[in-house]
Amino acid sequence: MEHDPDDLIASQVKALSRAVSEAGINARDIAALGIANQRETTLVWERGSGKPVYNAIVWQCRRTAGYIHGLKRAGHADLIQAKSGLMPDAYFSASKIRWILDEMDLQGRAEAGELCFGTVDSFLAYNLLEGRPHVTDATNASRTMLYNLGRQDWDDDLLRLFGVPRGMLPQVKDTAGLFGVLRPDILGAPVPVAAMAGDQQAALFGQACFAPGDVKNTYGTGCFMLMNAGENVPVPQGGLLATTAWRIKGQPAFALEGSVFTAGAAIQWLRDELGIIKDAAESQALAESVPDTQGVCLVPAFTGLGAPHWEMYARGTLTGLTRGANKAHLARAALEAIAYQSNDLLQMMAATLGRRPRDMKVDGGATANDFLMQFQADIGDIRVLRPAVRETTALGAALLAGLGIGMFRNPREAAGRWLLEREFIPDMAPDKRQQLLSGWERAVKTALYEAGSRREAPCS
């Protein structure tokens, strides 16, 4: 999976110009601009001309899975995890850089300092900022698998492992702080660019998760959950990742991160493959038309199971079917599965940090589903807070930029911009919760058992 680099720049410039003109303001009315971006996606360009040597390789792209498998077999997993906080995977930038240098036969030019690597933030900065700075921020650097979390610097051992010369890497700056000014030809004024952050970290900030244990969950095709882990690098367990949450005035904060592979995709499955709902919104009414799933449990492991199970061979599993099971029970089971999987992540993060969060902030498309949000609160015995501004990624980038130019003295001052839209309060008897969680655990065990036999005799 690739993007045309020119498309990234052109669409972003158009979006910015349109937003400013629709706001009816002058570019000089913008105190600062923040950039949030898809993470890990990898670009390499010529230092002299700025011309990319290859398309952007998108984070989802699995083309380097074999290379990563080789690194793991050679016993490098512990080194990578200890230094970068990440599990070796094709997802992160390092193996994608390696692929571009090999495929385009560019190792020599990279060694000679003629090439620049950057994630999307870095490529945007290089192309949109006055003076073409080659910069990134600590959150984006943390997703490359080349960055030492504890030392907050590129790591020589990891650079050697992937054969990436230090000279092609961007300078790593604080997440909030002056990166430069926009080229005046873009908006007609040199607007200060005062924050850059990976999208999930920007959302964590936009959700005002400033204290250790504060957690946000984004419900998209999958879920991305990040929990603030404080000022020391956390030791992740069970397939969680450690990452930089942000770095402000030289002081890093860290986060635990985990993902659910199939969340909103389970609702799309009800709609597109089973045809039992016409649109995603209908799933709520259908689920609420029955008081429970009648014991039906769906483990939507369509592409395997993520943390805390990490079983790539798992597949979707439906348990507890009786003669009376109907489409409403199935729809309800699909929505509940999103909450169960998120809850498994949440409990693992809480155990890792030794903190039980008071509440969980939520964003993303599926948070419009009140049934899902209430079930999430019930099953986790946790208050679920849905904010008024659902664009938490952009809000986070904007607030970080405000911090970067000193509009706010500290994150807490910016937090006044976070407003609650609705709070979902847990309302389920403990024995009922325990009964449901046991049912989910049995269904997951069934999926894992079946994955074990699939691993020995793969049939798909």
Binding site: D4, D7, L124, A394
Partner: protein, 37 residues
Amino acid sequence: MAQYLAALDQGTTSSRAIVFSPEGRPKATAAFEFAQR
């Protein structure tokens, strides 16, 4: 007078930009999709 904050949100399927009021409310949003190959 400079008082607004703006953000770019460069995602996997679209490039977005949002202008926020000084109170942190979205004042204008624009998005353009691009191809993935």
